[in-house]
Symmetry: C2
Subunit: 123 residues, 2 copies
Amino acid sequence: MTVQRRLVLDALQRARHHTTAEEIARQIRARHPQIDPSTVYRNLEALEELGYVTHTHLDDRVTRWHRADVERHGHLVCRRCGSEQEIPLRTLEPLGRRLRSEQGFRADLAHSAIVGICRECAP
Amino acid sequence: MTVQRRLVLDALQRARHHTTAEEIARQIRARHPQIDPSTVYRNLEALEELGYVTHTHLDDRVTRWHRADVERHGHLVCRRCGSEQEIPLRTLEPLGRRLRSEQGFRADLAHSAIVGICRECAP
DNA sequence: GTCACTATTGCCACCACTTGCGATAACCTT
DNA sequence: AAGGTTATCGCAAGTGGTGGCAATAGTGAC
Ligand SMILES: [Mn+2]
Ligand SMILES: [Mn+2]
Ligand SMILES: [Zn+2]
Ligand SMILES: [Zn+2]
């Protein structure tokens, strides 16, 4: 556990919910400018491997990181207005069971947001 | 309809299935080296707006493009071995209906692959 | 405590785009 | 066919993230 890794973990504790790596790097570099952004990225991966953090993908190319101990949940994101909504994993579980039994595939349905059109934007 | 846009559309017709923008740019620039990659990216977006093409996301940072008239389908991708599998949209429809009725959300379940562990990699 | 070994780091170049800008091409109107 | 308007283009710089590499820090064995 290096000081760099400690700083990344601390930043994740402070942020309650899906932060970006860039935001974490910005915070750390405010006090420790010698720490390289690539070190932050690598430590997020390492901490994920160790089971401390996980990530999800919304509809852009930016990965969202959070502590592993927050309750897992799915995301709906509107491709029109960009709004994000959280949904209980329970809603997604029937599909998970189906993919498991029909294809032998253990889906991680919280990993990527479901993209679509939200109620407000519906035509 | 500029010659650049025509070339992008032609490249998509030749490739039967989820190509990358980089691959299309490579093909076009082999014959027309003055055409900039950014023109390819912008034309893919324009053609999507016009309804000719769509895109999907697998588990990397690369966007996959295809003609809009190919049969829509879902993707399963294994985060362990990277294997990709196509599944009929029919399998995903029950979830789509549920999100529609419970949240008023019109999900596009073919837009992002479902990430998980495939049968071969299961522990 | 010293030494060896391994993990991690900062730096840099790259990747897959994205965006701003001034130049050019497409398309209307007359 | 010419002129004006708008869309699109090539170029170059920027963004979020990845990967190689040599230097350094952490760790554990003696
Ligand atoms: Mn998308
Ligand atoms: Mn991921
Ligand atoms: Zn919306
Ligand atoms: Zn697999």
